[in-house]
């Protein structure tokens, strides 16, 4: 079972003229929002202006996603991932301070591509606040998670396909029809490799490198994108004026939290990335989910 399946396009699709139109409007609207802030509010309506900007920049994604009329199977997989991202905390009830949200969004983006990654991320942010309570932070979280999923999709979708398809040990992938019939051969590996899941060393090394890359990415993006963005959001609502000093202060005071968050993301990626990507690839293959989806 090699990765002979037709590769689906995973890029952010701009075929839809509507998307382009919206993107252009958004690009025009952002300066307009800033202008309104400066002219009408003496440049002090930081929070609302920033809110307007991030809301506007999420619009093209929404239009592109709606525009391609996603089919039932794709919607269900996205909804499942959103729900798992939110309910995932329940699985870690014994370590309540660790939350797997960012790690799961990264994995979703890597496995399903940038567009679905964005949708999973932003809707996870929204839905989790539906349950834990909406607040002024909701749009920021939506944007941060959405972008993380999007970027993870851009950077890692090719790699995820490799992890999920060709390189895993035979028995761990479920094998194919001929292997299933002959169970004795599964037992009868001379060195027990197939049974015990140790794999040929070379393969293992490339896979380790892949996971390591994913972890580095996870650390950086959690710390930088999520941490900095939400600290900035806090600054815009707390402070009467945004200066370099206030921002720096915000970032420094937020650093310990962001560091814990980034580390927990790495831990979760180490723990979950390989198995989850494998599972997603299996479902995609078995049921033709996300086929022809860009």
């Amino acid at each position: 079972m090699t990765s002979g399946a037709p590769r689906t396009r995973r890029g952010f699709d701009l075929r839809f003229p509507k998307t382009v139109l919206v993107a252009v409007v958004v690009i025009l609207c952002i300066p307009a929002a800033i202008a309104v802030n400066v002219l009408a509010f003496d440049g002090r309506a930081y929070y609302v202006t920033a809110l307007a900007i991030i809301t506007l920049s999420m619009l093209p994604f929404a239009v592109a996603f709606e525009g391609r009329k996603p089919q039932a199977r794709e919607l269900v997989v996205i909804a499942v991932l959103v729900a798992i991202t939110v309910a995932g905390r329940a699985a870690f009830f014994m370590v309540p301070q660790f939350k797997p949200v960012v790690a799961l969004v990264i994995i979703s983006g890597a496995a399903l591509g940038p567009m679905s990654g964005f949708v999973v991320g932003s809707l996870s942010g929204f839905v989790s606040n539906f349950i834990f309570g909406q607040g002024p932070w909701t749009p920021w979280q939506m944007f941060a998670f959405g972008m993380i999923g999007f970027i993870a999709g851009l950077v890692f979708s090719r790699m995820a396909a490799a992890i999920g398809s060709g390189d895993a040990p035979v028995h761990a992938r479920g094998g194919n029809a001929s292997e299933k019939a002959d169970t004795d051969s599964v037992f009868a590996q001379p060195d027990g490799t197939a049974v015990w899941g140790w794999d040929v060393k070379g393969r293992l090394r490339t896979e380790r490198i892949r996971i390591a890359l994913l972890c580095v990415f996870g650390f950086v993006i959690t710390f930088v994108l999520y941490g900095i963005l939400l600290d900035t959001a806090a600054a815009t609502i707390f402070s009467s004026s945004i200066s370099f000093d206030t921002l720096l202060l915000m970032y420094i005071s937020g650093a310990p939290f962001n560091l814990v968050h980034a580390i927990s993301t790495v831990v979760f990626l180490l723990l979950l990335a390989r198995t989850m990507i494998e599972k997603l690839e299996r479902v995609k293959k078995k049921y033709g989910f996300m086929q022809g989806v860009s």
Partner: protein, 299 residues
Amino acid sequence: MTASAADRSIFAGYHPIINYVFFGYAVLVPILFMHPVLLAISFASAFSWFVYLNRGRGLKFGLGLVVPLMVIAALFNPAFNHEGATILFYMNDNPITLESVIYGICAAVMIGGVILWFACYNAVMTSDKFIYLFGRMVPAMSLVISMALRFIPRYRAQAGRIASARRGIGFDVSSGKFLRRVRSGGEILSVMVTWALENAIETSDSMRSRGYGLSGRTAYSVYRFDSRDRAMLVAMLALMAAVATALAAEVVSVMFFPLFTVSGTSPFGMAAFACHAAVCVIPLALDVREDVVWRMSLK
């Protein structure tokens, strides 16, 4: 619980458009115009509605989450923003100004009010209302939200079931060293992911079997915009327009730096405050009136 608050509140019984217009106004006006009187009115109405909605449980939440945030906001500004003409004293060679202190207090009241409005929102607004509003604009995304909300309670219950199933065949799930616990959480999540994905196939079959994907899908909702809603919308918009006019004409205005100056004491300004108060108190007034009428009718 939230569901009962949503059932109990008369305001929640109005059309979702009314709800959203109200909350949009209630949250945005304080953030955009930090006029002390507007803020005070807003905070007071949010606080009283919140306590009314949640009965006894409200105060604990208020003290637990809102107060610390307000304290941070009140201290943040004077400590790190040294604008303003009136220097009160110096701390570590940094001037602490009166204007900054006032801004900090206003920011605290604003943040407290906004969080309380959101708390009311969370108590009163259900997913149905959100879906109603966005089901037409972003149908696929709102369907994903609806499905995710359906899955989440299932998945949580399943996580518990998986944990006890694993315990049942001798895997320890909740004790041991930190990393071991994280690892067993990973195992539980892994079982859950497979289960969720494999079972989702039947969900998508069920959708397709009921025609999902055909062109021309409509969005049904249980809400009807009736005459009561129309009257309420007109009244609300009229009051909001009055406040907006006053703000635009700077009859009501505030400036914190370099010197703290407020306006709004003119009769027109007072009228604007009255209008703002009238809007903010709508939900509480409706709920209280209903309670009173109901009690009267029982006698």
